[in-house]
């Protein structure tokens, strides 16, 4: 699909432009200094705040900015509820509290060993070979399996889940038919899984959530399907992207890689820095009241791309913002969002990224980008490498 080339990033930006997809950071740096809230008429009108303080202001402002639409699309967007990510106050809090207990650091601990085993099995497949694709053979395979185990679904369903995610988050931006087909398929799939558990409850998240209540009332079927779809979509390509970016960095920075190999205790601190520098997730909001932020008027009905990745690169907030400092001590990054919509899966994602690095570095301390191959990046609002060929040893 060819798109009209961008003439001016501050008045005509396009987050699907190949230059933005390949390397958005110089574009954001320029906007941050001279704009700082970009706008485009594309996608039916979208704003792009590039500074940390403006991103934070929008994230905190649930009066003027709604989460009922969180993906910028080219066509009049269908409202697809996936509570709590698409919920506003006052519905947001009960919907979020329903999911939170399963995602606390304590609750996530039980998934650590299974995650370690998944990583080890994946590494077995390519350890000893001259090379592999760290995105395809490793990063993308981890979260899909962990989420499957949590929900109580077969690990082998990975391909199907990834196809839906691609259709909903990437292809669906410009193709409503593909989007709606994927929505229908996910609903039918989860409905069948819910029905199975009605006669035979299991020790899994689908069973647990299908018994959930809000104010003593069982949640509606739509709410349940929306929440399950959210866990599937939000828990997979985001973490896959974050893991992939860690390996993209380490494949090119032997000094950082060796430091982590020699001092694995530093890995959790480095993970925070990778999350800051390569935050994968950009959210969106719909302007529901005219308002001014960062000196820029926001018009009702238009969308806002809420770029936590751009906020994380703001030198006003982070000294040496464009440098990856793996032992950065003060790191108030916004990779998991700010305000009431803080990512529910943050503790899970942190565990998966940390374990993925630990297990790989233990077995494969030396690797670098394959100079004969090309790295490719995802399109849309979740950024990460989709092809990452590396040579091992």
């Amino acid at each position: 699909m060819t798109r009209p080339p961008v003439t001016d990033w501050s008045t005509d930006f396009d987050h699907l432009d190949p230059r933005w997809v390949e390397n958005p950071y110089p574009i954001w740096d320029e906007l941050r200094e001279k704009c700082p809230v970009a706008h485009t008429e594309r996608f039916r009108g979208v704003y792009f705040p590039s500074r940390y303080e403006d991103v934070r202001a929008v994230a905190y402002d649930t009066e003027n900015f709604s989460s009922r639409r969180i993906i910028v699309r080219e066509t009049p967007p269908p409202r697809i509820p996936a509570p709590p990510i698409t919920s506003d106050p006052p519905e947001h809090r009960p919907a979020k509290n329903l999911l939170l207990p399963a995602f606390t650091p304590d609750a996530i601990k039980q998934h650590e060993q299974p995650t370690r085993d998944i990583c080890a099995r994946l590494i077995d497949r390519f350890a000893g070979k001259p090379g592999c694709d760290a995105a395809i053979d490793y990063a993308q395979e981890i979260p899909v399996r962990v989420i499957a185990v949590m929900l109580g679904l077969p690990e082998s369903e990975g391909d199907r889940f990834r196809k839906w995610i691609h259709e909903i988050l990437e292809a669906g931006i410009t193709r409503p038919d593909i989007l709606m087909k994927a929505m229908g398929e996910t609903s039918a799939y989860f409905q069948a899984e819910i029905d199975k558990r009605k006669s035979e409850p299991r020790d899994d998240l689908i069973t647990q959530l299908s018994r959930a209540t809000i104010d003593g009332q069982p949640i509606t079927e739509d709410h349940l399907l929306g929440a399950l779809r959210l866990i599937l979509i939000a828990g997979i390509d985001t973490t896959w992207s974050a893991i992939g970016s860690c390996f993209w960095h380490l494949a090119q920075h032997p000094e950082d890689r060796r430091r982590l190999v020699n001092d694995p205790a530093l890995i959790p601190t480095a993970v925070e820095e990778f999350l800051r520098a390569y935050a994968p997730v950009t959210m969106a909001r719909e302007v529901i009241k005219d308002v001014e932020i960062g000196g820029c008027p926001f018009k009702t009905g238009e969308m806002v791309l809420l770029s936590f990745p751009a906020a994380n690169r703001d030198p006003r907030m982070f000294p040496d913002a464009d440098r990856v400092v793996i032992d950065r001590k003060e790191n108030r990054h916004a990779a998991f969002g700010l305000g009431i919509h803080r990512c529910i899966g943050s503790n899970l994602a942190r565990m998966e990224i940390t374990v993925a690095l630990q297990e790989w570095l233990k077995r494969i301390p030396e690797f670098h980008l394959d100079p004969a191959a090309r790295v490719t990046w995802s399109e849309g609002t979740v950024r990460g490498p989709r092809k990452l060929p590396v040579l091992l040893g």
Binding site: T104, P105, R332, R342
Partner: protein
């Protein structure tokens, strides 16, 4: 360093859980994963640096540190 007291602003806290990860001696999480200071929040001298580290890593700026009265 003088002894200080930490307090989590429960309205601001969104459960990023950085404080509990960085200074588990001073902060704990409730059943939803939101943070609160342990006990009366008084920080033993040996942990003062950790208290400031937790504060500096809270994305919501929900941690207050005050001089102990």
């Amino acid at each position: 360093m003088p002894t200080v007291k930490v307090k989590v602003d429960r309205e601001r806290c969104q459960g990023h859980a950085r404080c509990a990860a960085l200074a588990g001696e001073l902060f704990e999480l409730d059943e939803l994963g939101n943070a609160r200071e342990k006990g009366d929040g008084v920080v033993p001298e040996a942990l003062v640096e950790k208290a400031y580290l937790a504060k500096a890593n809270c994305p919501e700026e929900a941690i207050e540190i005050e001089d102990k009265p």
